[in-house]
Symmetry: D3
Subunit: 332 residues, 6 copies
């Protein structure tokens, strides 16, 4: 198999244990993740060769962050180590009707301060058949946005399949920027997009019929003609501990619908969208589109049971759930 | 704003971690709380100035207990430090159909042994517009009961609004006493009461139609004419992990009903009634009665997601839930 | 009361904390258990005198394992300490739609290598009125199977009541054996059997109407005429965190049906069948059959709320649930 | 071997983890111990049959406390379960030049409130050849003091060897009492005494040459002619983390001196004197007096490396240290 | 007593537990501290009224940081809450010959970005008799340096005693600056200075005889004539776990020398210099200079036994050590 | 640089936390290691390319074990995954005069049962300039011994430098074997050997002057003429918490002596010999022999401060200690 490549920031996540509030915590659990890295690890779980491109600080913490990818079989030879600050975020895990809270601390990180011209994309894209980007990267800094655009352009030139996740984060985008332009430049060269109503409105002013994935998908494809496949995940948030989870796919005139999973009590929902995306990329390459969708929804359903930002499931485990075994029976 | 004052015992709670039984625990989690202090902290969360009056032992643990109030912005300048024993209780957290168990160890505590004449209520009640008592205080000891009566009398003389929570605890009241008389003396001078069917029967032999809050409220008001507002919380206990939670208010001929919250899995239900009371006091002063009720139910719904005896939520968080957002969505 | 005796292996269980996957764990929680020991401890909780017969390694860990029984009031004077390896298993706790995983490491253990002739059953069975075996013991090794047969034969000679639990474990039975013969030899002398459709098919090729406990029970009694009472537990696995739990009893032409319990979130389901069996043995001796069944289902319902392999509940707690109080109310 | 019996209170110890101060702790480690129980467990480690006589509350915590003795092979059939309060103490572990702090909470415990006439000493002393008491028991309450005197009298009548540990605790003795009389009544019938300069002065006004164990021993024997053997432990406290430890024995005109152990960093020094006493009792029965002393010092040296109040070492481990192997080499 | 005021940054410290390396940690212990706040808390331990002036981010973490001061009886009414980033640092605790490592992440923090003109020093300095600054503050940013200068100037105008700690940190000072000028401006108006050979060389090019505190002190006083008292702490670093600790004071022609403490195993040495300074300020106001020095050394010796950045000792505990009791005996 | 290759078993180590005894532990800390893997990781720390050859079970635990090497930059492409049992050992960490205890559970592991002919050494040894073996491998099983001999023979044929560590483990060698022959076959083709008096006597009956490394080295070289360099580590075990550590090298008629390090309190001494060996291999290739020795002793001195079986230090950290800085000063 050829490589899946992505480019983004890797963060240290510091989360309060046992549903404690920030004001109660005397320790933080530490894991490493980030939207693009999460996508890669999700795909790597199933055997897809993956390569992560990033900039990390030249410190013990920066090196530790990179190891998280190695542990999960993702290549790290194109990570630069320079600068001092590791991007990080604090997470207070919610429960019942109290939502989780995130405090970002990633401005001025080594990644945000990166040199957008410093990456050798010709080298990186050797033996690569898919590039994935996320809307979080251009939200980090102007430099990151520039680098992301270069990556997409280079991938497009080479005929590599390009996927993206809009991933709107209101608390980022802390620099002067024409968001619509930046995002349009990326989506214009993208074939597979994970999108949502809110993000489409925020980025492109694009409003679809309420709740209609089909309408949203059509309008996106009108605006961005290279788009071939649009995926939409549907999270019904009964509360922070209980979600229902399903997804849709719109591709070449066809609409695909997944089953819905009833998920409680949520163990960790951070990174579930990323685990969906990684599994979808793998699925599109291995299965027909209906099964690719089912596979991605099952993989991300399982992610809700796994602590940390990244999914850790095997192909067999996901296929067993795709085949309808929701029992969670003990294997002994 | 003027001060809310309460008087009661502050306890060290020692609870088994991870739903372990007492026989399995090799450590205990330690938090500090007590019904009256919990009420104050609940109100202080929203900005109400509060002052706790108590007696704590003159030891490192007694001083640590007082700090819990300071951390939560409650005044402690009227706490006496004398004696040796801190009241404490052991808590085994239940799950599913196994209920939580409490072992009290508070007899002969510094608070129980207090001198009921030793408190300078004229000083304490300066700049105060509300006094709150709970039925736990007279249950602790004869001295505590006497002190509580003095406090209520002094507050009444000064025209301070008085609220109470019947809080029947069958395992306390370990001294010779005419419970009905003691409790009647308190309720007689009270305007806002948190009550329940079982407590009314135990204390006053007062029986209302089963499940009728209205009838209970009427009978209470007949017996205690100064009562203006009666609040009743309704906990539907599906099991130890799953409760439904709502409340009613009866005031000046009007009945108010809250929405019901579906709460699972319960993180910590100790102190939820107290968080309701603190929020109700704040709400009555800030909002109309319907909103005060909604505010108090929402605040105490959130308390179920928070470890420890005391609530730790902001005004914004409660108002968001009052406005109907139960999704527990991540804010990022 | 006379003694309940059982014979089997005691294992160290090493489980990942907080629903972590094996690949994430940097520590393992350690508890000791095993099907037969779990049955004894379940019965000992209610006051039944119990005695465990086993072989454990002559190491600090072997001795620690035996202490687990002493802590739970089960006699250990007939445990042999010899050999070096303690049987153990690793447990990854599942959640939501991800099932738990077990990795056994019990081949070549001190128990598996035991001398089947080394136990003095005449001595052991003094003052004993019930012997219990489980299908796990013959699955461990040829030696264990032989010893189990001797025990059943000796108990039968003495007129001791014999119960068994088929307990099919596909990952054991790692030696050349005629399973049907081995198991038939045991069931042939058994009066009370805990059975299931799948195990009956695997062991005896016996197929009953789908879901019909009555039919299964009839066919078992046809094949094994000494069987008097057949118990069947019904676990409806909505997912790994949410089960429904009930049971049936078939005895002397009568069918008994229990209520069903709705169990979520599951704290620990390992050993719930064993807790059922231990409570059933106690119940059959103390109550009528309907109450015995209700008692066993309630006891094992409570087990789902308790960490570890063994149940830790009192007679009062179980009877309270039998009487219908599912509220999990705090006792204070 | 015949039994060693002791009588005293069993406490729950709640200690701060990781050298935290009381004001810093959000959890407490829980272990169970008490001077007399510690002595028994120390002796039971080596195979001496032991029996603990006490009164514990009739609660889950009281029963859990008793199990600690069972786990350690000490008989519990003469423990009464009555009352509600378990004696407990809080321990803040010191380090370097900061000493440990103890906050007792044992007044009014089930043990302190016991009925001194309620114990059937004739039954208890069957098959017993040694009774041990400690000065902590009469310090707890008048009732405990009376019960202790009865026990000593009964043991003396039966010709059982009696040992005692003066164990002066300034923070106990919280009732009106003629300490000298109470303690003299006990020592008068005692043959083996663990004593110290400070305790002798406090209890008996008996002052010996500074640092001269021999002089102290002589004066004790003059005052209490039945005393045959006096043991004195010498702790040189360089600081809380570094102690030097040795002991002396004076018996029938002979003086015995042990080697000195250099102990750092101290893991847990609580109960080291008790572990010495238990080992000394065993040693006096098994070895000559010099070896008995060496054995007791080595056993208690090892106790400093073991968390909790009680020693957990084997005969072989102690004898290896007696033989001079201080290396702490890994056995693999 | 009048107030001690200080101004500086309060940081979240995230340290690896159990001597783990950064690469091994899956959680971080969280405490709050900073040189200037540590000094205040050290003085507040003994009863000195203290007030901390700072800028913290307007987030849950910023508010939690401020509470650390409240818990320790330090006033916080002059802390501004603005901005988003809390300064933080990661600490890897060393052991034996492996030193601790610090990774700072405090650039662009709310404090670093503060408005130097925004503080109302006239208000702050009411009822204040001592102001303390540290060399860390000007090292953080140009704005912080300006604010620190203003504070010193204002305090000097009012005749408030001024102390400073040179506190050279090579990894800070990340902006264009004439360090010598900045620091000279502060020292010029300072009466009591905590200094060291290395810092004096780095800041002022001032070189004294190796190891001669007297010479260093003289040269400092020559250069900064307002200096009255110079304190020097001497840490002999045998290794990371074993230090020897003493100090000297030079004041008005007199030299004072403390005893030396032998400290092992170090529990936490961060903040020991600050605990010395806080105790010295208290001591100078309460005792003669020799005792002030002894008091400060003893207080900071004890700090080595306490986890976290701040000292937590009582006046009694320090005085006991000053009086020579290094035994660390248990008080019971 | 060319590769260093080694072959051996990788184990899961389960150790009791906080110096608890086996009987006290309710959890075990989990790390992965093994003598040969530890040597590789030690060398990989400094930049030497390394490759580990082994057999691990085809389970989640087997795969997790392999990841430990990846995290530490050691190649794993020649690890076979087959079989079910992971070798493991339990470790009780000692303190003061109580030594650590090891319980092995590695018989019948996937590694022990390996096929000795299954490894493709020609492929493995491409680009390799050093092969290392340890005496633990032939001690595991006959198959492992055969495979180890094949590896040494193949390496020798190719002119690869061969090093070995005698590593005598009395508790292994649980099969019928002529130890002397097996070990001689290995040492006969070895150029660099880590040896000790006790191992030489056990394996070869070779007795040297007590304490004379020189004599031991001479006798070894007489018996095994291809030996060029003999290293001997000297551990002076004051107790389990306090060791002194140094080493000697004998090569081509020259003797080299290291400094001695004073190590207390020991954090983790398992794997220190392996860390020495890995650093020595690196050192011999990079430095002169005196510096290689100094480097290896410093690296392994630092290992005593690091939890787990493997060293985690940088080249810079070791060189700093080689240069004499033992202070353990904080770098900030």
């Amino acid at each position: 198999m050829k490589k899946l490549v992505s480019f983004g920031e890797l963060l240290l996540r510091l989360s309060t244990p046992d549903y404690l509030r920030f004001s109660q915590a005397s320790s933080f659990d530490a894991v490493y993740g980030g939207s693009e890295a999460n996508v890669l690890i999700s795909a790597a779980n199933f055997g897809k060769p993956c390569e992560f491109v990033s900039v990390l600080p030249d410190t013990d913490l920066g090196r530790r962050a990179a190891r998280e990818l190695q542990i999960n079989q993702v290549g790290v030879s194109n990570i630069q180590f320079t600068g001092k600050k590791l991007g990080l975020y604090f997470l207070e895990k919610g429960a019942i009707n109290r939502g989780s809270k995130v405090i970002y601390d990633r401005e001025h990180s080594a990644f945000a301060n990166m040199d957008p011209e410093s990456l050798d994309w010709d080298e990186i894209f050797k033996d690569c058949d898919w590039f994935h980007w996320s809307g979080i990267t251009p939200a980090v800094s102007e430099n990151a946005a520039k680098a992301c655009k270069i990556a997409v352009d280079k991938a497009h030139e080479r005929g590599i399949t390009i996927s993206g996740d809009l991933n709107f984060r209101g608390n980022l985008w802390q620099y002067e920027v024409d968001r619509k332009q930046v995002m349009s430049d990326l989506v214009n060269k993208t074939q597979v997009l994970l999108a949502g109503h809110y993000a489409c409105k925020q980025f492109f002013g694009l409003e679809a019929e309420i709740g209609s994935g089909k309408d949203l998908s059509s309008k996106l494809k009108d605006q961005f003609p290279e788009l071939k496949t649009v995926a939409i995940t549907n999270r019904e948030e009964i509360n922070a501990s209980h979600n229902k989870w399903s997804a849709q796919l719109f591709s070449e005139g066809e609409a695909y619908e997944s089953v819905q999973y009833d998920i409680y009590p949520v163990v960790d929902r951070v990174g579930t969208g990323d685990s969906f995306m990684g599994a979808l990329i793998y699925g599109i390459q291995q299965f027909d589109l209906q099964k690719a969708l089912d596979f991605a929804v099952a993989a991300s359903c399982l992610k809700h049971s796994i602590s940390g930002d990244v999914n850790r499931v095997t192909l067999e485990e996901v296929l067993k759930l795709v085949d309808g075994d929701r029992t969670g029976r003990i294997n002994r």
